[in-house]
Symmetry: C2
Subunit: 377 residues, 2 copies
């Protein structure tokens, strides 16, 4: 994997990059739709691509439990299994042992956890996390990390950071044989000194890229931005950086200005299924009665399939009728909105007008407060 | 609307026809996917078309209750509302007042029923049924009929047939202004004399086409075929004929041989959502463990999008993971199977080899009995 910074922004730390993977070149900053179980919920691979996405994220935890990584490997790897020809990033599964598993026990060797599907007990250590991701055949793998729960003490998080570094070292050792890229994950909770310690430790090990983990798990927005910004300062400019699990359009714009390159979040897909649509003016709740007779598209000027063919009135009808086409059409729009937002950001960086883009973005929003309150999950 | 018989089969009453509607020409015999609430469940209009369907059916009862026919009319009619450029046939809503409504009271004027959505009381008479269908703007409308419940006595059904004829006359009177085609619906339950009475009565009124209703509601297969066949004898050969709500691939082949031209059924779409796939060899239950590692498509040689890109193993995984992409990919295959079956039948009639086609069809099925037991609903 190669990463090249094509251009730097004049007004911020934002940069335009090119990430070359086994399955194609990704222009950064970019957003990765989440394809948890080997499918981006609600849409086909072609629709993900047509919405403008170049790379997707898949969850190691889910695919390990079902259908199993050895099965996927036997059938030719995840790209072939799910019919996605572009790059795939897999997480390591560490986060889901916190967010989904009923019980997890952490030891220096790894995490013992119970499946959220059937309660069966499993062990995930650095070697296993690498084995699974290698079987899946993702272009970018992530190191196994411990994401400390929100509200963890400084002592707890310090130990967690040390463990995360040990595991990262082990992942790097295991990884040798593979042509997969490997990103290290910086932890450290909301503690600046621990974020610095974690970042410096990982950078000294030397990864293909660096992710900032452990955010968007319950802290307030200001803290999230402060921690992301200061952590980014300790990461090398010549490597791609990835802010995990973030976020709203606002979050992403702010993070881009900090010099972050990659993002993933379930917001566009999950909110779509819940009838919440992203527009330049803010969020639109499609079930609201004001749209009952509204012949407009979700957003005028939007080039997505949904806005090209369907009215708000029809989308509201589908949503209220619980037709699965509702989720699909909404997801297509939201993914397009995110891709289009990121391509707009890239163009603005290229043309040295990100400050203007930023100003326009906020000026168009009629309901900043409401947006923030509604959309973060 | 014009109907032209292009060719007659030598070995049966089957015929190849061309039905010219406001939204395009339909080659018959053909199958109409069911788009109950203004969407064929699980798929987009483009996917319905790409699967080979030329015409869809929409349900007057559902669209009247939600979002309402006046709303759809205001937004330009059903074709535009749902983004379907091809022909649409609407039923009259009569059948759903039997199958879905909590309570229905029948009077000479029409049916009073309760909405299955919110319990509200509504009245559907011949004039109303025509008004709704005109608002929807379908290419083919159906007369309001009373479908007598399965097991109804001869006396009950005789009265029902008389009422159905009165309503059909009223529909014809109401219809005058419209360019919509109107089909009459023959009732008469399982009683040959009443089927004859109903057919003769409707034919003397003169409709653009004739449907056989009141079958596939619980009677056994042999009775269904006998009644459909004898009813067909009383319908004019120069008009299109439509067997409502039928059925399995076997049912359709048998009905084509009787000289029936149009079919609709929820089987391909509903079974797809339940993981039951149609193949030339019979039904395939995708969740079965035998497909866990099966890299084959649903059916080799099938030209559908699903079979071109996905393995049984992946489809099984999606189904077990409750991913909505499962329903979609399965629906695409089943609709393609039905369209392909009907286009095969048409080609066989054209080439004077329907008997051979029929023989091959049954010879390929490895589980006739199981197929019959599993697939009829």
């Amino acid at each position: 994997m190669e990463f090249r910074v094509v251009r730097k922004c004049r007004s911020s730390r934002a940069r335009l990059g090119e990430l070359t993977t086994n399955h194609g070149i990704i222009k950064t900053p970019t957003f990765m739709p989440v394809g948890t179980s080997g499918a981006v919920k609600g849409v086909s691979p072609e629709e993900v691509r047509d919405a403008g996405a170049d790379i997707i994220l898949a969850n190691t935890y889910h695919l390990y439990l079902r259908p199993g990584h050895t099965l996927i490997e036997r059938l030719g790897g995840l790209h072939r299994f799910m019919n996605w020809a572009g790059p795939i990033l897999t997480d390591s599964g560490g986060f889901q042992t916190l967010s989904l598993s009923k019980l997890r026990t952490i030891s220096p060797e790894g995490v013992t956890f119970r499946s959220h599907l059937d309660g069966s007990t499993h062990f995930l250590g650095p070697a296993k996390a690498m084995e699974i991701q290698e079987s899946l055949g993702s272009d970018i793998a992530m190191t196994l990390d411990e994401c400390a729960p929100a509200g963890s003490s400084h002592d707890y998080v310090r130990n967690s950071v040390k463990l995360t570094e040990q595991w990262a070292r082990r992942c790097l050792e295991e990884k040798k044989a593979s042509s997969q890229a490997l990103f290290g994950i910086v932890q450290g909770g909301i503690y600046p000194d621990l974020r610095e310690m974690s970042a410096r430790g990982l950078v000294s090990l030397g990864f293909d890229g660096y992710a900032i983990g452990g955010l968007a798990i319950g802290e307030d927005r200001r803290t999230r931005e402060d921690i992301a910004g200061l952590t980014r300062e300790f990461l090398p400019d010549e490597k791609p950086t990835y802010l995990m699990g973030v976020g709203t359009p606002e979050d992403i714009i702010e993070a881009v200005k900090m010099g972050l390159d990659l993002f993933d979040c379930v917001l566009p897909t999950r909110n779509a299924r819940n009838g919440m649509l992203f527009t330049n003016a803010g969020s639109l709740i499609i079930k609201n009665s004001q749209y009952a007779q509204d012949d407009s598209p979700i957003e005028y000027g939007c080039g997505c399939y949904t806005c090209s063919h369907y009215s708000r009135a029809y989308l509201r009808h589908l949503y209220l009728s619980k037709e699965m086409l509702a989720s699909r059409l909404n997801t297509i729009h939201n993914l397009y909105y995110y891709s289009h937002l990121l391509s707009g950001i890239r163009k603005a960086i290229e043309e040295n007008r990100l400050a203007e883009f930023n100003h326009d973005f906020y000026a168009r929003r009629v309901d900043n407060q409401e947006q923030e309150a509604n959309s973060y999950q």
